[in-house]
């Protein structure tokens, strides 16, 4: 009799476990179409490079324009697949002089890609090889231009337009590769995104960052009470930044992929807190979306410079904490100072 009850219990418990597992499975299933839908929304943010290599500049002004354009293009290639490049940089032989005789940064990348070949899939390898070759070509042209018009290099960088991240690479210098690689390693790009603000206006990360001396990106979600607690202070900071040519944007993680209900709830909270700065969302499976899933503590605030590079370490925790506010201010000042050159 007792034995039967034990058996029955075991059976019941087993059934319970199966049900529990089934519940998990069901959750999974309902999630699947969601992600499938957002996959379509994940747009590649790279812009098509403008054709510029065929023309020969006639004067210094044209050379300057071409120089800038080439720099931008190299920058675009490097920022197109940051993760992949990051892998290449990791593999780079730090002791190796970057620019050997007759070799440029592109060749260096090409060599590095070649040595780390097994790290990549065929497709990745193909892409990297192509890109590195193109960078090599760009570098050659840049050197040519710089030899012809020695002044343009300085001008190209002093220009009021955005300074591409890769530009210091184009400097023909005999500096050893070690320093350059260290610089490259510490510079982490903020992942590119093409999203919308909560009112539906398109926001592109490259335009956003290049248009501001410094951009503060605050990650939050609607039901996070420390996040909501700092909204008013962030709004004040945004107004402060506006005077210095900077901006603050919020990313509410609930609103990723443009969830209607989440957007209206977020807007509610923002309105209650009197927030006027822009809040944006993007696709959760894009580069920036994946970046967001790796944030585990909220709020987290990033400082991004004009070139789209992350300045310093992210600030974890609300800036209502004095220590955090000070750290953030330091990073902002640092970015603005660097922007002024």
């Amino acid at each position: 009799m007792n034995m039967n009850i034990k058996k029955l219990t075991a059976l019941l418990l087993a059934a319970l476990m199966v049900l529990a597992l089934a519940a998990c499975g069901a959750k999974d299933a309902t999630k699947a179409p969601e992600t499938a839908a957002t996959e379509a929304a994940a747009a590649d943010t790279t812009e098509a490079a403008t054709e510029a290599d065929s023309e020969e500049p006639k004067n210094e002004e044209e050379a300057l324009a071409l120089h800038k354009e080439l720099l931008e293009r190299e920058n675009a290639i490097l920022s197109e697949n940051t993760e992949l490049w990051e892998k290449v940089f990791m593999k780079a032989d730090k002791g190796m002089a970057m620019i050997e005789d007759g070799k440029n940064y592109g060749d260096f990348l090409l060599d590095t890609v070649e040595t780390a070949k097994e790290q990549f899939t065929d497709k990745e390898y193909e892409w990297l090889k192509e890109s590195a070759t193109e960078i090599s070509n760009i570098e050659n042209k840049l050197t040519e231009l710089e030899e012809k018009y020695p002044e343009i290099m300085q001008k190209s960088m002093d220009g009021d337009m955005s300074m591409p991240a890769g530009d210091d690479m184009s400097m023909p210098s005999d500096q050893s590769g070690t320093d350059k690689m260290a610089e490259q390693g510490s510079m982490q790009k903020f992942p590119a995104f093409e999203g919308k603000d909560l009112d539906g206006n398109t926001v592109k990360s490259d335009e956003l960052f290049s248009g501001n001396a410094v951009t503060v990106v605050n990650f939050w979600f609607t039901t996070c009470s420390p996040c909501v607690g700092e909204l008013a202070e962030l709004d004040a900071l945004n107004k402060e930044l506006a005077k210095k040519g900077g901006a603050l944007i919020g990313v509410n993680t609930f609103t990723l992929d443009g969830d209607e209900a989440a957007i209206s709830e977020a807007k509610d909270v923002l309105a209650k807190k009197g927030v006027t700065y822009q809040n944006v969302y993007f696709a959760s499976d894009g580069e920036a979306g994946k970046f967001t899933t790796n944030i585990f503590a909220y709020p987290t605030t990033y400082v991004v410079d004009r070139n789209g590079n992350i300045v310093g370490d992210p600030i974890v925790g609300a800036i209502t904490e004095k220590k955090q506010a000070e750290t953030l201010q330091k990073l902002i000042d640092q970015a603005i100072a660097a922007d002024m050159g």
Partner: protein, 302 residues
């Protein structure tokens, strides 16, 4: 028949440590996350684990029921969480405080600490403190998160934020070791909760399961359901010789012969192992099992 069930009871009581270890591992399945400094965020996190185990533990396979409850109650949209309450009632009815004794990782930790050989102190005289955990449950887990709200209608998870040592141990400490951002965010709150953890750790060495006895809101919830749980302890009055060994062996200060389904009983089975006549055993099922005992008695007398 009887021998066999008492055999199962004996087995459970004897191998409890291994079951606790296994349960802790299953509750924290994603071990590689410890050195990656990431949290598992998959579908498992939409379900809660039976024991007290922090959601923010890098390895955690599910959510903490107490944490999840506070998160929902404290949000501006809801005032009560039926999903978690339902799960807790189900678990309480199915297993009761068996969860504390066999499945809770934090309970296991306190027991391991108690194995450190030092002078051990009895908690019998501190019995009034056992009611504190009900206050923690009602005030910190439910009332404060639901009622102490900010201008947007959001409350803080008071228990998690100000009291829970498991959160510091499993969340704050491992995450701050690998993540420099979190490390710099550590402030007064961390110092406060770290002191609580330290106190619990030290107390656990001299007292048996101090946190479970006095503070744990999850234990309090299961304690209330211990009386009606399908998982019971049965004392065979005919076999009992009233030697009192069971009461003396009980580290939760329960006299099993007087109240076999006491709120404080965590079903650890120490009394079962202590009983010289095998009069105590686990029983699973509806009712109080009196009928069966008389039946087996008649079988025996035949």
């Amino acid at each position: 028949m009887d021998k066999k069930t008492s055999g199962i009871s004996q087995f459970l009581a004897r191998f409890r440590g291994w079951i606790q270890a296994g349960a802790t591992l299953l509750t924290n399945w994603h071990l590689p996350n410890f050195w990656k400094g990431r949290l598992y965020q998959g579908p498992g996190k939409t379900v809660c684990v039976p024991g007290l185990n922090c959601y923010s533990c890098p390895a955690a396979s599910g959510a903490c029921p107490i944490g999840a409850f506070q998160a929902v109650v404290g949000s501006s949209k809801f005032h009560f969480c039926y999903y978690i309450t339902g799960i807790l009632i189900l678990l309480g009815v199915l297993l009761g405080r068996f969860i504390c004794g066999f499945l809770c990782p934090f309970g296991w930790l306190q027991e391991l600490l108690h194995k450190i050989p030092t002078k051990k102190l009895s908690t019998k005289k501190l019995k009034p403190l056992t009611y504190l955990k009900y206050a923690v449950l009602v005030v910190m887990v439910f009332l404060l998160p639901a009622l102490a709200v900010n201008d947007v209608g959001m409350g803080d998870p008071f228990f998690c934020k100000y009291l829970c040592p498991q959160g510091v141990l499993e969340g704050a400490i491992p995450l701050s070791i690998v993540n420099s951002g979190i490390r710099t965010a550590l402030g007064k709150l961390f110092t406060w909760k770290f002191s609580i953890l330290l106190t619990v750790v030290v107390l656990s060495v001299v007292f048996y399961r101090p946190f479970c006895k006095w503070l744990c809101p999850l234990g309090a919830f299961y304690a209330l359901l211990n009386k009606v749980s399908l998982f019971q302890i049965k004392v065979d009055a005919n076999k009992c010789i009233s030697c009192g060994k069971c009461a003396r062996s009980c580290k939760m200060d329960v006299d099993v012969t007087k109240s076999p389904n006491h709120t404080e009983c965590i079903r650890c089975g120490m009394c079962i192992r202590a009983c010289p006549t095998n009069a105590i055993r686990f029983r699973y099922g509806f009712g109080d099992g009196k009928e069966k005992i008389t039946k087996s008695n008649t079988e025996e007398t035949k």
